[in-house]
């Protein structure tokens, strides 16, 4: 630990030497900030971070142990990832109507945020440095853009229209500096599933204005059976062969297979893009954790029934949390999500979401994420996760109800 005086000296020196110019513009994700604060409060219940309450499926853990005992995890893998894992990924993708070459078009990554950052660093160059992000969308996107030396440009989703894309606003934000659009489908924090029609409109714009599409599909496996605007599987632009050179699709095993701590996922795109992203991936991490790569093979091959079970349970938890929220209709309004495991609540009356989140943490010992973390239009909202256990959800909602009694 530095003494205050010593720390102050370092800060002053850094300022003088104009150090940390890039990182000064970057903030620690508010989700992590809230988690840090919550960790200091004994018995706080966290509905903040999107961590599923489940443990990694047994079949996955066994595969990792087996690999460990075989002595095959101590060395780097190829930068692309283990060939046998990439072959499995290619097979999985083909089942979903996406055809990519495991040898040249798939990279195994250390979680989706590494894939996003590597893709952004690859894409952003010179004057083409603006990245379109939807607001609200995942809090770390904007910071990843800044890490890559780019500028996040927010396009508001329209709440009254089920958090769908406002194309008029989107078209207005696209210019010659636009390098890419980055979105999460289904969207975090709103759970919105973007329609095929809207995604094709984005593709059309990308083709005309020459920018990339980065599609983060981490929640694709959590789409609820009672969803009205969705039938069958999630549509992905990566399914359209003509868009291969435009689309970089990212998937992580963190949420679907309850493997957030394993840091494992993959990205795929046309060979032309992937060989460039590979250079950045190599300089960032060399390769994804090898033990996690062996675990991922087992997950993709044998854990689909577990994913379905998680999805069924999340749907039940969503219904549970919505029943609680209906009791709080004087304080929140919300749209029932069709996917992911978040509800994005509008605060009634309008109020500062950071302050509200801090109050709730301090007085009710419940951690939630302030809506402003997800972009400017997220202000006066909070995100709550129903990825936690039923017990946690019930306890958190009981405390929130108590909080409003005394508010």
């Amino acid at each position: 630990m530095y003494k205050d005086t010593k720390f102050g000296f370092y800060l002053k020196s850094a300022k003088k030497l104009k150090m940390f110019l890039r990182t000064k513009k970057i903030n620690l994700s508010p989700i992590k900030q809230i988690e840090l604060l919550a960790s200091k409060i004994p018995d706080a219940v966290s509905l903040a971070q999107g961590i599923p309450s489940f443990d990694t499926p047994a079949v996955v853990k066994k595969a990792a142990i087996k690999a460990l005992n075989r002595g095959v995890v101590a060395k780097y893998s190829l930068t692309y990832g283990l060939p046998e894992l990439r072959e499995t990924i290619e097979q999985k993708l083909a089942e979903e109507g996406m055809y990519y070459d495991f040898e040249k078009e798939i990279i195994v990554v250390a979680g989706s945020i590494e894939a996003i950052t590597a893709s952004l660093i690859t894409i952003i160059s010179g004057k083409k440095n603006e990245i379109i992000l939807f607001s609200p969308s995942y809090a770390s996107y904007a910071e990843a853009v800044k890490v890559a030396g780019g500028k996040p440009v927010f396009v508001n989703l329209t709440e009254e229209n089920g958090w769908q894309i406002d194309f008029k606003s989107l078209v207005g934000k696209i210019n010659s500096k636009t390098a890419a659009i980055l979105f999460c489908n289904p969207n975090n924090p709103t759970g919105t599933i973007f329609s095929r029609k809207d995604l094709l409109k984005i593709a059309d714009l990308a083709e005309k204005k020459k920018f990339f599409i980065i599609s983060d599909e981490i929640y694709k496996d959590f789409i609820y059976s009672d969803s009205n605007d969705f039938s069958g599987r999630l549509f992905s632009l990566a399914q359209i062969p003509e868009l291969r050179k435009k689309v970089i699709r990212i998937f992580s095993l963190s949420k679907a297979y309850a493997m957030t701590g394993w840091r494992i996922g993959f990205l795929h795109s046309d060979e032309e893009n992937v060989k460039e992203i590979l250079k950045v991936h190599d300089s960032l991490v060399t390769c994804a954790p090898v033990i996690s790569q062996y675990a991922a093979i087992a997950a993709l091959d044998f854990a689909d029934s577990e994913v379905k079970r998680f999805c069924r349970e999340f749907q039940e938890r969503r219904d549970l949390i919505c029943r609680h929220l209906d009791d709080l209709s004087d304080f929140f309004s919300y749209q029932k999500p069709n996917s992911s495991y978040f509800v994005f609540l509008k605060l009634l009356p309008k109020r500062n979401s950071w302050q509200f989140a801090l109050d709730l943490l301090e007085k009710a010992r419940v951690a939630v994420v302030p809506g402003v973390a997800f972009g400017p239009s997220g202000e006066s909202h909070i995100r709550i996760s129903f990825g936690r256990s039923e017990k946690d959800i019930n306890e958190a909602m009981r405390r929130i109800k108590e909080f409003f009694k005394h508010d």
Partner: protein
């Protein structure tokens, strides 16, 4: 599963699989090699299905000591559950000793991936199944931790090639030197595929197009378009063509005779 229980399960499954094969007598095509087995297996299946044969393949990665017999018996894995494995052994026994086994529509072809990860693995797998045709994809550095070098891996595939009967067929990747080195050991007919000049079935004038690949199959002067990307899909397309050309519909009867032999 404890080691002892695992060995018991493995032993019993092996014998149930052998009895099943003895009773049903399907024609077995084995797809082996360290990479690219899946798409070749699918291509072989597609080619035979087009000819209206009934074909079954391994499920997922059921291709080693326990997975292979499960694939042959068409049973799921018991995973880590003792009671599940007991149930599976019971189902296997019922299946293979059922008097109705042969009265049901059965598999004319079994297309099986075989995976090895340590020396002598192949001997064990060959003690379960005798292939009529073998497709060898490539010998690469995967699984190298249990082998001295690539030649030691190739030795395993040599065992597979040597296990083929005289009227069998070895379909070999011409682009892989080690695999071609095995050709000398074969006592049966050999057909090669690859991208290099000299293969019996070769892909020429390969073009990557927006929705896949276009190429010509050398020798046949036939133009093919596939909606997949990567060299391994060219190989799969070539093997599909080899199967199409060598397993004619009227040979059904021929294979029945083979089964009697």
């Amino acid at each position: 599963m404890t080691d002892i229980f695992k060995r018991v399960v493995q032993f019993k499954l092996k014998w149930f699989a052998k009895i099943y094969l003895w009773r049903i007598k399907p024609y077995v095509i084995v797809v082996a090699g360290t990479v690219g087995r899946h798409w070749i297996k699918e291509a072989v299946k597609e080619s035979l299905t087009e000819k209206n044969f009934s074909v079954r393949t391994n499920k997922k990665n059921f291709n080693a000591e326990i997975g292979l017999p499960l694939s042959i018996l068409d049973l799921p894995s018991g995973e880590g559950s003792f009671s599940n494995w007991i149930k599976i052994l019971w189902l296997a026994m019922r299946k293979v000793f059922s008097p109705k086994l042969k009265s049901k529509p059965f598999d004319e072809f079994l297309v099986l991936e075989m995976a090895i990860d340590r020396p002598a693995n192949m001997n064990y797998l060959l003690s379960i199944v005798k292939p009529g045709t073998v497709v060898l994809t490539a010998v690469t550095m995967i699984y190298r931790e249990n082998f001295e070098d690539l030649d030691e891996i190739a030795l395993e595939y040599r065992r597979l090639i040597k296990a083929l009967p005289r009227n069998g067929l070895a379909i070999l990747n011409f682009d892989d030197e080690r695999i071609m080195g095995l050709a000398r050991r074969a006592n049966c007919r050999i057909i090669t595929f690859g991208l290099k000049e000299g293969a019996d079935f070769t892909a020429k004038n390969i073009q990557k197009i927006s929705d896949g690949q276009k190429f010509e199959i050398g020798g046949l002067r036939q133009s093919v378009k596939i909606n997949r990307f990567g060299k391994h899909h060219l190989y799969a397309a070539l093997v599909k063509e080899i199967i199409r050309n060598n397993f004619k519909e009227h040979q059904k009867e021929f294979f029945s005779k083979l089964r009697i032999l």
